[in-house]
Structure formats: structure tokens, C-alpha cells
């Protein structure tokens, strides 16, 4: 979560949440820009292929097996 991808309000503050939601509904350009930025972040940081590569790196370290031993 960052100002580029979302709008943050203080925890539990329903009035601030309402204001933020109403403002976003009224501002399509800002809303679409944040949606696009959030999609980019999801692809860059949360894609399963990237996570699996990180996990395989960990498995290789803890097993001592080299990447070459991964079945093709």
C-alpha cells in the first residue's frame, strides 16, 4: 500500500473513510491511476511465478542442491 496505489485513512475513522470514498468516486482520473498502479505492484511483487522463484532459491540453500538439479 502506498499513496500511488491507495488512499489511507486513520484506523477505525468511519467519517474519514466516507470522505475518502466519496472523493475517489468523484475523481475518475485519480481512481483509474491508482487502480493501474496497484495492478503494476501486484504483477511486480505478488505474482506466483516470482514467489515460486524465491521459494526455489530458499529450497536450494537449505538442501544444498544446485539449480541444475531441478528437473527440467
Amino acid at each position: 500500500m502506498s499513496p500511488e496505489t491507495s488512499v489511507a485513512v486513520p484506523p477505525g475513522d468511519a467519517d474519514a473513510l466516507a470522505e475518502a470514498l466519496v472523493a475517489l468516486v468523484a475523481d475518475e482520473e485519480r481512481r483509474v491511476a491508482r487502480g493501474a498502479a496497484a495492478r503494476r505492484v501486484a504483477i511486480e511483487r505478488y505474482s506466483w511465478d516470482d514467489i515460486a522463484r524465491r521459494l526455489l532459491g530458499i529450497y536450494e540453500r537449505v538442501t544444498g542442491l544446485q539449480p541444475a538439479s531441478v528437473a527440467a
Partner: protein
């Protein structure tokens, strides 16, 4: 490389960790790893109906899933997971570990009985553990003094978020690498032509902040005329995978004072939730830890 992913919950009942493990297995296979999932299984029948009030996945698990026992519902940390506590699962785990000869085991919620605890106690190969839960983790109050030493067997510890890391570290101090839950990303989502609707996605419990959104909603509806759709699991039903929709409206403008709920489960809920998100104008996730409005 042959990887055994151990999940202490049942394949028959969708939940966040089960789904995570299945997507993890699929992603590892795409990179060439040979992966098996060791988890519970509750075949449909009278016994399962008695133990599990909600409808689960019927049928036989796919060949890459190795069933290690039946599950029961155990309230824990704001949800009702289907945990395997049958002592017989210890023998099954022992047999599977001997037969499959894994290079590495990856344990999800490693301190949850019984498959993960059994793997920690019985297997002497490399092990990685992922901690998912955050919050008080009341079970750890009991488990840590008795079984905490087994966590030392883990060669690498992962937490799915900074919150999960802090919760785990409270009971099991040490280094944790944060690797988040992955998300399935649709090929393309059109930002135009969205329905005039907001969507909340998350379990209906205080930490996820639905109550904050519902307090804000009359004002938002009055000023925008938008509708609200709520998607997520209701812990009071024991359903960790159902989705409900609530059509809430302003009290002044509606004859209907209460939201109407529709329940969905399993794959239907998952698909419905994805579609709801890709059609909505805004997603609101007002967690009671630092809150967000989009």
C-alpha cells in the same frame, strides 16, 4: 527437486492456507519442481456431515494431493479452520515421508497439529515453515512450552506479512523472511464501464474493518448513490471460503433495513469474488491496523 508441502487443514474445505498451498504447488511445478501436497481430506458422507456443517469440495483429491487424515473444526484466531487432529495421521505422515523421499518439506502453519508437528518430529531433512496467522495466536500459549523446541528444526522461516512475522516472533523468536501471499492477476481488466458499486473483500471479523465501512456507508450512499457488495467468509458459520453479497442502502431511502445476504461456497465463491472486484468501481479494505480506502 522434490518438494513436500504439508498443510494441517483439509483439502475438502477451501481456506486461505489451502488455496495458498495449491497455488504455490502449481507455481513451483511451472518452474520444474516435483511437488506433492500432504493435507487432510474429508470424503463426502455421513461422518463428514456430522463433523462439518458446511458444504465442502466433493470428489477425490487430485493425484498430487496425499491425504493424511480427516479434519475437525477448531475455533482459532477469529476463524474456524478444519484441522487434522487424528493421532492416526502421525503414522500416515511417517509412511508418506518414508515412501516419497522428498528433498525438502515446506510446512504451512508449522506449529499446528498434527501433520506439521509430526513432520517436525519425525523427519530429519531440510524444512521450511511459513507462518500465516497474525494476532494473539492463543494456541501458541499452550503449544510453545511443549512443542516450541520443534520449531528449531526449521531451516528457514517465512511469514506472509510483517504482522504475521511479529505474531510468530512473539512466541518463536528468530529470523523470518517476509514472502507475501501471491495473487492471481487477470490478463486484462478494463478500468472503464465499471458498475456503480463498491466491493469489500475480506473475512467478516473486526481486524478486517467491515464494521468501519458499514458505519461510513450511509453517508457514502447518500452522496454517491453507489451500491455495496461484501465478499468474504463469515467466521460464525465456519465457512472460510464462502462469499456473501450484501445490498445495503441508506436507512432513509430504503424500505429494507437489513442487508440481504447470498451465500456461495467453494469455486463458485472464488470466481464470484474475482468478478465482483473486477467490475466494481472501488475496493474498500478498512483494516483496523492502518486503514485504506481503495
Amino acid at each position: 527437486m522434490k518438494v513436500g508441502i504439508v498443510v494441517p487443514f483439509s483439502w475438502s474445505f477451501w481456506g486461505a492456507v489451502v488455496e495458498h498451498a495449491e497455488l504455490q504447488a502449481a507455481a513451483l511445478r511451472r518452474l520444474g519442481a516435483d511437488v506433492r501436497l500432504l493435507m487432510g481430506n474429508d470424503p463426502p458422507g455421513q461422518f463428514t456431515r456430522a463433523l462439518h456443517p458446511r458444504v465442502g469440495r466433493h470428489g477425490t483429491p487430485p493425484p498430487d494431493v496425499i491425504p493424511v487424515g480427516r479434519s475437525v473444526i477448531v475455533p482459532a484466531n477469529g476463524s474456524l479452520p478444519n484441522v487434522i487432529i487424528s493421532p492416526r495421521s502421525i503414522l500416515r505422515i511417517k509412511r508418506v515421508l518414508a515412501e516419497e523421499r522428498f528433498d525438502v518439506l515446506h510446512l504451512h502453519e508449522p506449529m499446528t497439529p498434527i501433520p506439521c508437528i509430526a513432520a517436525l518430529a519425525l523427519w530429519d531433512g531440510p524444512m521450511v515453515g511459513t507462518h500465516h496467522a497474525s494476532g494473539d495466536l492463543g494456541w501458541m500459549r499452550i503449544a510453545t512450552p511443549v512443542l516450541g523446541f520443534l520449531a528449531e528444526r526449521l531451516d528457514h522461516r517465512i511469514a506472509v506479512s510483517a504482522e504475521a512475522r511479529a505474531s510468530a516472533q512473539r512466541w518463536l523468536p528468530g529470523e523470518y523472511e517476509v514472502i507475501p501471499n501471491g495473487v492471481l492477476i487477470p490478463e486484462a481488466v478494463d478500468a472503464a464501464g465499471r458498475e456503480h458499486r463498491f466491493v469489500f473483500a475480506g473475512r467478516h471479523e473486526p481486524r478486517k474493518g467491515l464494521q468501519v465501512l458499514l458505519r461510513a456507508w450511509p453517508e457514502v450512499h447518500r452522496r454517491t448513490g453507489a451500491r455495496l457488495r461484501v465478499a468474504g467468509a463469515d467466521p460464525t458459520t465456519g465457512s472460510t471460503c464462502s462469499a456473501s453479497s450484501a445490498r445495503t442502502t441508506s436507512r432513509r431511502s430504503s424500505r429494507r433495513r437489513r442487508p440481504s445476504w447470498r451465500r456461495r461456497s467453494g469455486a463458485r465463491a472464488s470466481g464470484w469474488c474475482s468478478r465482483a472486484r473486477s467490475r466494481a468501481r472501488l475496493r474498500s479494505s478498512p483494516r483496523t491496523s492502518p486503514g485504506t480506502a481503495t
